[in-house]
């Protein structure tokens, strides 16, 4: 905890006094802590002299910011046009089924995986596409999902 506070302070001091720094600052904070914790946002607000409302406003506006803990691996399911017409819904359902995610839940109970829908990964020619971490997998079928996810499952 002590360490992470020091790292947090290092990030804040790097951005102090720079204009337009809030978004990159929050991106680095999220990188450090995995998601934007309420206490951290309060701390950032006090240290940077930016109102908590403004920080929360920015954090909720951009889809990249997460206010809840997320899994070790982020599974991004592309829902772009090309993927949509090539069956992205079936892929998403197969992933949710395989990871036993029901309803609104997006993170597995063992916090290994968080499943997100994203607008377009820009690999339309390989549709349907998903990204796990920074690896892209294309031309998927629902049947192929268990094997792809399996590469990242706990050893």
């Amino acid at each position: 905890m002590q360490n992470s506070r020091q790292e947090l302070d290092a990030i804040l001091s790097k951005f102090k006094g720079r204009h337009g720094a809030l978004i990159p600052l929050l991106q680095e904070v999220q990188q450090l802590e995995g998601y934007l914790k309420k206490e951290t946002m309060k701390y950032v607000s006090e240290q940077m002299g930016v109102s908590a409302a403004e920080i929360f406003g920015v954090a909720t506006f951009y889809s990249m910011f997460r206010l809840k803990p997320q899994g070790k691996y982020i599974v991004r399911v592309c829902k772009g046009t090309a993927c949509h017409v090539s069956g992205a819904n079936g892929i998403l359902n197969a992933i949710k089924e395989h990871l036993k995610l029901e309803g609104e839940a997006d993170t597995t109970e063992d916090t290994q995986f968080t499943v997100l829908e994203v607008a377009c990964l820009g690999c339309c020619s390989l549709a349907p596409v998903i990204m796990i971490g920074d690896q892209t997998y294309g031309k998927l079928t629902p049947e192929a999902i268990p094997a792809v996810i399996g590469k990242f499952a706990k050893a």
Partner: protein, 589 residues
């Protein structure tokens, strides 16, 4: 000196198709066998459907390109090429002989993509060897106003989609008073189904940077931003390296090329908000705020970033600039049409045979783009429509395929040129579902500032969802049209003003599909699951049990070698039986 050169495409799409594994193998084979092969990497050549793609040249042999290369074949390929005994079943380009895709390249005109798939994007030397930064050298010897005149004369129009004259935009920023000005590159490519800018950023980052330096000099700006989508990590990586290299070589920073001109360029990563592609929202985001559009006027040219005069252009517009400065306005005008000179990059995707990135002269017909360059429809299916311009655009039907690709002709169809996404749809695509898909997108991405955009798009989405579920009524069509008009009138920015376009164009050209959903409760494309039923044809079913074994809810019954039957009350319509049947005995009704 090595005898031959082997160049591998390592763009994001190549890597997704396994090019990094091929790269490792390539290095290993050359080292282990001490082959006289120089290996190089490049980015996207545009033929994404053939990835991984390997180009071989040198030693007086014809230059060839191989598609769908697998690492197990690398040894044979290299040996074969070196010894003139190469036998490979997928030679996609050949310098002297007919090859599968020679036509595909011959029908293109590459200005923006001139270096993509040719150079190593992480090498400044490669870019310089192609004449890179010569345009900057030339521009710095000119008067700023003369540069703006060339851009105006070239007739270049904003490639982000709206098509406003780039030269005029530069003139406005030039005229603006103040000693602090900014230039911005809009690389927040957000349209689903579009990846032109990603490929350019990954494949030729210096071209965009050079364009921006020239623009900054012409307009009197000393600072600039590249606003890049965070979903494009490779693009950001290549840009970062390019900025460092360009600064070290004196093309960026203080006293550029000894002329006393200073220009500082930063990268700003987006954080995931489609609306930030709108210029006023983008500037709010650079300032670290919520990306909400603001009222124009004042236009960015008068009051933009931090209230200073600002010029924003899209990636493709910037990448055109060095070519125009080097070759002149007349050379540029040789391509394209009177009112839309030059070329346009398109991302072909969807149900098209050759999906990938292409660049064609303006004025080519949609038919030629799809059939001559794109190779027609995948799997011999029937063409239904092509979606242009993403969520702001529309669907153009088969009857309008002779429309030429230029800003004004495409606007007439009700679609827009947009940034260049071209998603092809076949008979299995439901047009009501496509309209619903785009409304779902814009509804999600609406920033919420304007009531009609925020709530109106939600109401449209609800109606469309109802129709695709077979619960639509005739009055819904009228409601959709009314909402569309009001959303267009009542929205501040382009997102809201164009959000109804996908609905309006599908209503215009595919109204019978709406009616089929509403009146007959049928989806003609057999795509909307609520209106779909899977049935087994007893005369075609041989009782192989493949479908019954695949069915996730075990609702298919029947003895071996006897026709099977689907229990409709349990069926979840996943389609597993349909895809698993080898005898076409499972049908959609």
């Amino acid at each position: 000196m090595e005898k031959i050169t082997a160049k591998l495409g390592l763009g994001s799409c190549g890597i997704a198709a396994g090019a990094d594994i091929v790269w490792t193998e390539l290095k290993k084979v050359v080292n282990d066998n001490n082959l006289s092969v120089k290996i190089e990497k490049t980015a996207c050549i545009g033929m994404c459907f053939e990835e991984p793609v390997l180009e071989l040249s040198g030693d007086g042999k014809p230059k060839i390109m191989l598609g769908k290369v697998e690492s197990k074949d690398i040894k044979n390929i290299l040996d074969g090429y070196l010894n003139n005994t190469l036998e490979y079943n997928n030679i996609i380009l050949h310098e002297h002989q007919p090859a599968v895709h020679n036509e595909l390249i011959a029908n293109q005109q590459r200005i923006v993509l001139r270096n993509c798939g040719v150079i190593d994007p992480e090498s400044l030397e490669d870019y310089e060897a192609q004449g890179g930064y010569q345009a900057l050298r030339k521009a710095l010897s000119m008067k700023p106003i003369n540069i703006i005149d060339i851009v105006k004369e070239s007739g270049l129009r904003g490639r982000g989609g709206a098509g406003f004259s780039t030269g005029m935009k530069w003139q406005f920023a030039f005229n603006a008073r103040g000693n602090k000005k900014y230039v911005v590159c809009n690389a927040d490519e957000g349209d689903p189904g579009a990846f032109m800018d990603r490929s350019t950023l990954e494949g030729d980052p210096h071209a965009i940077i050079e364009g921006m330096i020239i623009g900054a000099y012409a307009m009197g700006a000393d600072e600039g931003y590249l606003y890049v989508r965070a979903e494009y990590p490779m693009a950001i990586k290549h840009l970062r390296k390019a900025l460092i290299d360009a600064e070290a070589k004196g093309y960026l920073g203080l006293n550029i090329m000894g002329t006393g001109f200073n220009f500082d360029l930063h990268i700003k990563e987006g954080a995931g908000a489609f609306v930030c592609g709108e210029e006023t929202a983008l500037m709010q985001s650079i300032e670290g705020k919520r990306g909400m559009p603001t009222i124009r006027p004042p236009f960015p040219a008068e009051s933009g970033l931090w209230g200073k005069p600002t010029n924003i252009n899209n990636v493709e517009s910037w990448a055109n600039i060095p070519w125009i400065i080097t070759n002149g306005a007349d050379a540029f005008r040789k391509f394209g049409t009177e009112k839309s000179p030059g070329t346009k990059v398109f991302a072909l995707a969807g149900k098209i045979a050759n999906s990938g990135l292409i660049e064609v002269p303006m004025g080519m017909t949609l038919h030629d783009v799809i059939y001559k360059v794109g190779g027609g429809i995948k799997d011999g299916k029937k063409f239904k429509g092509v979606q242009l311009g993403g969520p702001s655009g529309g669907c153009v039907p088969a009857s309008l395929l002779e429309t030429t690709v230029d800003y004004d002709s495409i606007n007439k169809t009700g679609a827009i040129m947009g940034s260049g996404g071209m998603v092809v749809m076949d008979e299995e695509t439901c047009m009501v579902d496509i309209a619903r898909f785009f409304l779902n997108f814009t509804q999600n991405e609406s920033c919420g500032k304007c009531t009609f955009c925020r709530i109106g798009t939600r109401r449209m989405l609800e109606i469309l969802t109802r129709i695709t579920e077979g619960k639509g009524e005739m009055a819904d069509i009228e409601k959709l049209e009314q909402l569309a008009v009001n959303i267009i009138k009542g929205s501040l920015c382009g997102l809201g003003q164009t959000a109804p376009n996908p609905v309006l164009t599908t209503l215009r050209y595919f109204r019978d599909e709406y009616l089929a959903h509403i009146v007959d409760k049928k989806c003609p494309a057999h795509s909307c699951t609520a209106l779909l039923k899977f049935e087994i044809l007893p005369d075609k079913c041989i009782g192989c049990t493949a479908c019954a074994r695949k069915c996730p809810v075990k609702c298919i019954s029947g003895a071996v070698k006897q026709p099977h039957i689907i229990d409709q009350s349990k069926c979840v319509k996943c389609g597993a039986c349909y895809t698993s049947c080898k005898f076409k005995a499972v049908t959609k009704v």
